[in-house]
Amino acid sequence: MNVVDLQKKLIAAAKAAPPGVGVPYAFEHRIMAHLRSAPAIDNWGTWAVGLWRASVPCVALMVGLSIWSAVTPDNAPTASATSTNGDISQQIERTVLAAAEQDQAADSTW
C-alpha cells in the first residue's frame, strides 16, 4: 500500500467534507444566560483571598524560626566570633562610608 498516496487521498476526503456550521436552537440565549449567571470578578476579593492564603506559610515560617532560635543552645558570641563579626561590620561600615570619607578628605584639601 502506498502510504503517501493514501495520506493524500484521506486529506482530500477531509477537505471534501467541511464541518457543518449549524448552531443549536437558541444557543446564543444559552450563552447569555450563562454569562449573566456567572459571578462578576471581584479584584479586591481575589487580592484578599491571595493575601489570606499567603499568610499561612508566613505564619508557619515565623513559628519555625521562633522555635529554631529558642531551641538553639547558646547564642552568646565567642571571642573569635566577636572579632570576626566586628571585622565584618567594620568592613561594611568602611565600604558604605568610603565615598563620604573621600568627599570629606577632598573638601579638607581645599
Binding site: M1, L6, L10, A13, A14, V21, V23, F27, M32
Partner: protein
Amino acid sequence: MSMVFPYSAAMERTEAELIAAVLKGDAGSFEPLVERYSPRVFATARRYARRESEVEDIVQEVWLKAFQKLGSFRGEAPFEHWLMRMAVRTCFDFLRSHQRNREHAFSELSDSESDWLERFVTQPETASEKADAARQLVQRVLEELSPSARLIITLLEIEDRSVKEIAELTGWKVPLVKVKAFRARAEMRKVLTRLAKDKYL
C-alpha cells in the same frame, strides 16, 4: 444626503460599537456577536470533537473566554480573527485534555472502511475521497495523532492555511510551526503505516 459605507466598514463600525457597549457594562450587546460568529466557531470545534455535546462545550468555553477577555481586544485586527485564535487555542486545550491512549488497533475497521481500503489498494482511482467511508477513516486516523500533530494537519493540510496564519492562530513561532508540521506529517505517515500493517499483515 445619506452616506453609503462599504459593507465591511459598516460591519466593523457596528462590531466596534457592540464591543464598546459590552466593555461599558452592557452585557446584552454581546448577544449579536455570539449570534453572528457562532457558526464559524461551531465549524472549527467540529473539526476537533466528534460528539455534539463536546462541540457545544468547546463553543461555550470560547464565548465565555471571549467575554472575560474582551478588554484585551485592541481592535487592530478584526474581531473574528481574535475570536478564531481563541477558538483554535480552546480546541487545542480540548485535544490535550482528552488525549487518551491513542494506540488503537485498526483491525476494528467497519466493513465500509475496509472495502474502501481494499479498493484503494487494488484500484486507487475507484476509491472516491467523497465516500463516507473515506471520511470516517480520516477521522479515525486524525484521532490517532497527538494533539499538536492533529492541529497542524487540520490547519495546514485540510484547511490549507499558511504557516504564518497558523503561527498567528496558535501563538507558536513560525520556525516552531514548520518543525511541528514536519513531525505531524511523519506522525501521520507512521499511523497510516500501522493501519496498513494491521490490515494486511
